[in-house]
Homo-oligomer: 410 residues x 2
Amino acid sequence: MTHPIVYSNIAELMTMKGLQANDGRHVGAKDLAVVKKAAFVAEKGRVVWVGRESRLPTVFRSSKRVDCQGLNVFPGFVDCHTHMVFAGDRVNEFEKRNQGASYQEIAAAGGGILSTVKATRKVSKQALVDLAQQRVGKHLSQGVTTIEIKSGYGLNPQSEIKMLQAAKALKKARVVTTYLGAHAIPSGTTQAQYLESLKRELPKIKQLGLSQRVDIFIEKGYFDLSAAKEYLVFAQELGFAVTIHADQLNRTQATQLAVALRAKSADHVICLNSKDKKRLADSETVAVLLPAADFYLECDYPDARTLIDSGACVALASDYNPGSSPTQNIEFVGLLARLQMKMALPEVFSALTYGGAKALGLEGEVGALLPGFRADFFLSNQSWEQFFYGLGGHDVFRTYVGGRKVFSKK
Amino acid sequence: MTHPIVYSNIAELMTMKGLQANDGRHVGAKDLAVVKKAAFVAEKGRVVWVGRESRLPTVFRSSKRVDCQGLNVFPGFVDCHTHMVFAGDRVNEFEKRNQGASYQEIAAAGGGILSTVKATRKVSKQALVDLAQQRVGKHLSQGVTTIEIKSGYGLNPQSEIKMLQAAKALKKARVVTTYLGAHAIPSGTTQAQYLESLKRELPKIKQLGLSQRVDIFIEKGYFDLSAAKEYLVFAQELGFAVTIHADQLNRTQATQLAVALRAKSADHVICLNSKDKKRLADSETVAVLLPAADFYLECDYPDARTLIDSGACVALASDYNPGSSPTQNIEFVGLLARLQMKMALPEVFSALTYGGAKALGLEGEVGALLPGFRADFFLSNQSWEQFFYGLGGHDVFRTYVGGRKVFSKK
């Protein structure tokens, strides 16, 4: 792929040009910048030209062609918050929960997050890779080309490293890893002891190149605000970017901490007061909304409308994990955003491309089809107006990452 | 298929034997009567034997075999309430609705049910068949083998007949048609005039064999209770079975009418008081719950728990239509039943098999895999405990109707 390749015969190509100018804020249909009868050129895995096919520069006229068969082309989606590496499932726990069992009863019956920790610790790295690679395939089949994956089901040094190594070993998708050792406090230790142990691990994570990002779950019964702050500042001093599971079940002021620390993102952001929302909207921290988790947990949805209307940069992600969001269905995430959070369709596209990219520090790299961006995209026979609607799965024909075909519908 | 065929090498086979005994009421896991290491025999499209493979009767030992490859076998699902024959879509209306447009504004912009009537009237019967046949394929790919399809987007004699003829022309699935001329009152006519015109049509519908069932939408702004009663009694006198869109948006007492008329089913049944629920639970009328419509319309869900606990026979269906329930996702229907209506998983299976069959008057014919039943079934690598959960689409490998393979995963 060192020679330019022309992708031609495209009915509609969504470039996202407008989002670059407005930083993914106050997004309208015109910001998606859909080009009709389009073509684009990729070279060395990056886009080098995009436009109307009739205006293809002479220099590319004799280049190798890929016929897009009159389909539509979209920039690959970015899923900026997942827990995709894990073993076991929690199917039985879901039935018990719906039938009225309390969290205590579920935990007593061996369920809850610690059951996933147990299952994840037990298996080999290769087993984790095999499980997660299948899940990557499901994401690719829906046009998701960049996937953030957190650790956090190890909760001890070797298992956390095993999870990150497994995530790093995944193929085909663009994977961004995040160190979430601070997902929960393992039994038999205190918050202070556990965070100290994590701090001892951080230089190694960095040195092994396993992750450039650190996340923490600030919540009653998990990590508190001041301890989290100290931990995140320590991580930043080591050069990590930080992100926070913030204000999901209770208002802990974690979102305000995220803004104060210039965190890449504050995720969940459900229990916010108006001041929290204003701070977030005025910041460069991305509001990552995870409506599938809210659906499965039957909790409130974040106030997307206020956040967006006051100028926040918003991302949508799956939060895919075996407990609170056991779904990889990206169409469902977008549908919930439209129906339950009243996000307009262009805002959904922006949140799944520009917003996700910015949350991962990949703005300018992924989430758009413009010169300089990675050639991450998918082909569909649906027009953009038909997305995130009927839950039949959006119809993805082929998916490419860095110009390489990684999924093809059969 | 006049010779017996043995389907063998089945990990688990869900027979539904218990449901036959308890009439689909107070359903537990044991009523699903799952047989391990199972086999069954079909002849002339019907099941003639089911049991442990080790106990296969000698007489079938030399019969032709189909190797089920260690997969699990389930009776085909019954979707007993759909509007699957239609033209056009209402994608843009969905966006407008989410962005705050009123029904009046949507109607003024050419949306709403009348836009589907317009689109459906305009196309040929064959065009309707082609569109609906694709949709049938999607249902089959999810293990749905029996599909009820209503008219009601014609609203004049010739278009209603065209819709029923299109439904009758569909292949592969077992289709049950329902005459829903009384879906809405066309503009330029009164309720009384329109119902009189429908009554003139009914003998012809019957005579042409287009439907054995009559449905009506009793609701404010649609048909009122007393006019509906007279119409349904007239239909019953002609030999039609009746069913009612009942108490969906307002309490109209339509459910009590359904019980009084011994209707096959009362559908939606959201706005019920405790007396309505008691009457329904004590009757032979099936409560057809349509949670996907409730999800898309953002209205309340029916009180499934009280209905079931007081002994109602409950069915779940998709209500697939381009306006209020634009999804064919059966997994989603079951997931909503679990999460939003607190139905236990065995109750969901019962509602999608026994309940649906009874609503269509097909109990003893479909919805179970027992001697005498149609050989309508599907193969999956999922165990029943894994269904209606992750929204990845349940993994159907092959679907059979009357012993004939009608879907195969590629």
